[in-house]
Every structure is written in structure tokens, then in C-alpha cells.
Amino acid sequence: MNIEDITIKKLATLSKLEFKEDEVQEIKNNLGEILTFMENMKDISFEDTTTPISNSSVLREDIHIQKEFDDAFYENNKNIENNQFKLPTVL
């Protein structure tokens, strides 16, 4: 399957990734090869399916628990002020 540059750029934007020019070509080729292989699925049709996994999510009661952040939490990010993460400006 032939993937266009514009598709790679769109996917990169959605994925919050960026690629250099030479990387774009490589990823185009890789994805193209993989998606061509996956064409083997297209001609196979199956009976109408329900969910294939027998487990289902068990809902539990929504109970509010006040949790204090321990030291390990703060160790992971020094960019905290007033219990908020400090980030670069949006605009």
C-alpha cells in the first residue's frame, strides 16, 4: 500500500510526533510494507460478530478518596507549583 507524505504528516500530528525528512521516507516504507501485508485480511469476511472477549468491565461505586501526594509523586516532577503542573504557554 502506498502511503503519501501528507498522510504521514497527518498521522504525526495526531500522534504528537515529528520526523526528519529522511525518517519520513523510512516510516513511509515501513508502514507501506506492513499495511500491504495486512491486505490479506480484506477479502476474508466473517459472520457478524459480537464482542470477542467474555470479560466485561465491572463498574464499581464511585467513591471519592482524598489522597495526599507522597514524596515519590513529587520526585517525579519538579515543575509543580500550588499543586499544579507548570507547563509552557499554550499560545
Partner: protein, 464 residues
């Protein structure tokens, strides 16, 4: 003589202390790089608590330990909590002891993509240990750990276990809590044991399994002891997919057929069966797994923990640069693929189709288990291959042809070593049972272990 997990249950406190010291000492001098600490040249992580030591894969949270999942993106991340499996280990007298290396974010089959460096196969350091739980398999195979935990999304316990000549078990989906396991593909991930033998796998599996309130996909069923119910004399009807065995390289194929003959001579019924074209299962797996991964890895954005790009001009640049620098090639490739199959215009053709295939694969297995107790299959088409073998990403994915369908169907599977090829590399096969029927795998595995009498020849720097 190596200490097994079963033997370590009977050790006194003094003997246990000696054992822990011995592992520490042995691991400080290794060249295999199974532990992250070995690659970083720091002491093995341990708790301030005596217990039977279990090596832990670098994607399982242990409170106050650094957990990187082999990725720069989680550089400096300190776990603020224990995964449920860690709490379960502690309740049963085991303690986490050392962090094992892995492919970045569990995406790979070589343990060569970790930010910490590569782990080698103890049988031949020019060969891969398999992945993504290659570190766990390597430390158990090399005698640097009694047992280890790994995780399996598409074969990441079973394939490295096969390549390293140890036992690797992937439980039925939902039998072991995923709370505290760094998510790759949430509907496929499972934590499981990597051990020296089947009995040890049963002991470790018993310690970690069980219902967990904190994991909404956890099975709320009655769990019986696998270890106490081990019975190597039970005879089963075992389905063999000859077409799969024929795809293996010659030495591996020969060992598998020899094992089948041994099982037959010992009273098991061997039956030839047909399953499905492995290519469609591969396609389905890589669509579902990458789709879920692209969603799960969206949380790694440099905001709350892990790597954050220095001095970005704005928030958008922070996200993009942090992720582009923080993730390796393979991870980025899978995120892109996952994003593609979920995107508008392609969702029906790819993701929806992959779910149909999942249902088909599950139903084929269910149908087969109406007439068989177990299925015997290869784990991989080859034994451990050399590092730097030139394989395209697709060719690498095709190495997973025999493992991924078990994950798609949520079934349990165990890799057992059965011999060595002409290069001295381990050969292995896997048993699969229907959901929640793992006792048969363990029983038959124990029987096979005795019949093949596989002996690892890796004894170095003294035993533990």
C-alpha cells in the same frame, strides 16, 4: 546444583540471607546484562525485607524504585506505588530483587531496543535472548535469578523463555492483575512467571494470580492452587498443528516431533488438527495492539513525569519534542500504525476487521478444544537468532506467528525447553489450553519436562 523456587521455600532465614547475598555477588560480575542495574553498573534494587528473591521486569511498578520500561520517555520515573503482583508476592514470602531489562515499552522481540543497552542470550552472547522480557529470561537462564516476572502481550514471556531455555507462562487473560503494569495493549497484556522449571512456574503463578478490585478486567472466579494440584500422570488429548511445525527450522522441527513421539509413547493421545492462517492473526494482532498502544502511550507527554524536552517554545512543542526524542524508532512506528488504523476512513477496513478476526480466532480455538485438552505448537519458527540479523519491521513481526493468536484469544500458554539445536541454542514448544484450564498445561508440562530431561549447561561463577 542450582536452587529452585520450590527448594527455596524450605530455606531457613539464614540460608535465605545467604542466597540473597549470593545472587547479589553473582550478578555484579555478569556480562549478559539481564538486569538494568548491571547495564547501569549499580547495585541490584532490593527491599529492606527478607524473602525469596524474584527479579522484576522494568515495566512493573515497585514503590520507590525507578521504572523506565526501557525507555528514555520514562527516564527518572520513580514508582509511587506497588503493582498488585508485587503486593501479592510479598504476601507469599517473595520479594522483588533486581529490575530486568526489556524492549522499550514492551515492543520488540530482541531486548535490543532498551535505552539501557542490550541483553544477551546466556547460551550465546552473539544471539538475542528474545523479547520483550529478554532480561527476565536471561537472568533465570544464566543463574542470576531463581525466578522472574515478565509480561506477555504477543509472546513476550514465551518467546524469550524459548530462546533462553527456561519455562515461561502466560496466564489466561484476567487471571493476574494488570494494576501497576505499564500498559502496552490493555486487552492483551498479562504478567506471568519465567522460571527454571514447570513446578516453579506453578508456585510463582499461584503467588501472583487472583481477583483484583483495582483491575476491572480481573476475573472474579475461584482460584485453586496450581502447585498443590500438579499431576504429571494425567493423560490428555493433544492437538498438533502439523502445518505450523513444518514452518520451523530443521533442528527445532526435529525436536518438536521427538517430543510429540515421547508424549505419545507415554500414553497421551496425539491428534492432528487445523487452526487458521497465521498471517491473518498477525495482521489482527498488530492492528489491535498498536491501536491500543497509540492510545495508552498518549499519557507519556512530558507533563507529569518522565522526560520533558528542555525549553520548548510552547506546549505543543513540548509534547512533540518530548515524545519524538523520548521514544525510540520501533515505538514511534507502532504509534503511527495504531493511529492510522483508528483514523477516519480506515477504522472499518482495519480496526473493525481485526476485531472480527479476533472473534474468528477465538471461535476456532473454542471449537478445537471440544475435541482436544491441549494444543501443542512451536513458540517461534527459529531458535535465537544473531543480533544485527537484517530483518525489516514486518519480518520481525512475522517471528510472532505462533504466539500472538493465544493473546488475541485470551488463552493461557506455556513455553517449555525440549532440547538444543546444532549450535547449542535451546529449542522449545508451547502448550495451550482453553481459558481458565491452565492446570492441564502445568500437568502435561511437568510430564514433558521429565520425558525430555532438558539440561541447561550454563553453570558459571558458582551456583545460586
Amino acid at each position: 546444583m542450582r536452587t529452585t523456587l520450590e527448594q527455596s521455600l524450605k530455606l531457613s532465614k539464614e540460608e535465605l540471607k545467604e542466597l540473597n547475598v549470593s545472587i547479589d555477588k553473582k550478578s555484579s560480575s555478569t556480562s549478559f546484562g539481564g538486569y538494568v542495574e548491571q547495564l547501569k553498573k549499580i547495585p541490584l534494587k532490593k527491599l529492606d525485607r527478607l524473602g525469596i528473591p524474584i527479579a522484576i521486569k522494568d515495566n512493573i511498578n515497585v514503590s520507590s524504585w525507578e521504572m523506565n520500561c526501557g525507555s528514555k520517555m520514562l527516564d527518572g520515573y520513580i514508582s509511587p506505588y506497588n503493582a498488585t503482583v508485587i503486593n501479592n508476592l510479598k504476601k507469599n514470602g517473595f520479594v522483588p530483587f533486581g529490575v530486568t531489562n526489556m524492549d522499550e515499552l514492551a515492543m520488540g522481540s530482541t531486548t535490543d531496543t532498551s535505552i539501557h543497552g542490550r541483553t544477551t542470550n546466556p547460551h550465546n552472547v552473539e544471539c538475542v535472548p528474545g523479547g520483550s522480557s529478554g532480561g527476565s529470561a536471561s537472568v533465570v537462564a544464566s543463574g542470576h535469578a531463581i525466578a522472574a516476572l515478565g509480561s506477555d502481550t504477543g509472546g513476550s514471556i514465551r518467546q524469550p523463555a524459548a530462546f533462553c531455555g527456561v519455562v515461561g507462562f502466560k496466564p489466561s487473560y484476567g487471571h493476574v492483575s494488570r494494576y501497576g503494569l505499564s500498559a502496552y495493549s490493555s486487552s492483551l497484556d498479562q504478567i506471568g512467571p519465567i522460571t527454571q522449571n514447570v513446578t516453579d512456574a506453578a508456585i510463582l503463578y499461584d503467588a501472583i494470580k487472583g481477583y483484583d478490585d483495582l483491575d476491572s478486567t480481573s476475573c472474579n472466579i475461584e482460584f485453586k492452587s496450581t502447585y498443590k494440584n500438579l499431576n504429571k500422570t494425567e493423560k490428555y488429548t493433544i492437538g498438533i498443528v502439523k502445518e505450523y511445525v513444518e514452518q520451523c527450522e530443521p533442528d527445532l522441527k526435529e525436536d518438536i516431533y521427538k517430543s510429540i513421539e515421547k508424549l505419545k509413547s507415554d500414553g497421551h493421545t496425539i491428534k492432528e488438527i487445523e487452526l487458521f492462517d497465521t498471517k491473518i492473526a498477525i495482521s489482527s494482532y498488530y492492528i489491535m495492539a498498536t491501536a491500543e498502544a497509540s492510545s495508552n502511550l498518549a499519557r507519556l507527554d512530558g507533563v507529569r513525569y518522565g522526560y520533558r524536552y528542555d525549553n520548548p517554545k510552547d506546549l505543543e512543542e513540548m509534547y512533540v519534542k518530548s515524545r519524538s526524542v523520548g521514544f525510540g524508532k520501533e515505538v514511534k512506528r507502532r504509534i503511527m500504525l495504531g493511529t492510522f488504523v483508528l483514523s477516519s476512513g480506515y477504522y472499518d477496513a482495519y480496526y473493525k476487521k481485526s476485531k472480527e478476526i479476533q472473534k474468528y480466532v477465538k471461535s476456532k480455538f473454542k471449537e478445537t478444544f471440544n475435541s482436544c485438552d491441549l494444543i501443542l505448537m512451536p513458540v517461534a519458527p527459529t531458535t535465537a537468532f544473531k543480533f544485527d540479523t537484517e530483518l525489516s519491521p514486518l519480518e520481525m513481526y512475522l517471528n510472532d506467528i505462533f504466539t500472538i493468536s493465544i493473546n488475541i484469544a485470551g488463552l493461557p500458554g506455556m513455553s517449555i525447553p525440549i532440547g538444543k539445536d546444532s549450535n547449542g541454542l535451546p529449542t522449545a514448544l508451547q502448550f495451550i489450553s482453553k481459558e481458565q484450564d491452565e492446570q492441564k498445561i502445568f500437568n502435561c508440562g511437568l510430564n514433558l519436562e521429565e520425558l525430555v530431561n532438558y539440561q541447561s549447561d550454563i553453570i558459571n561463577e558458582g551456583d545460586i
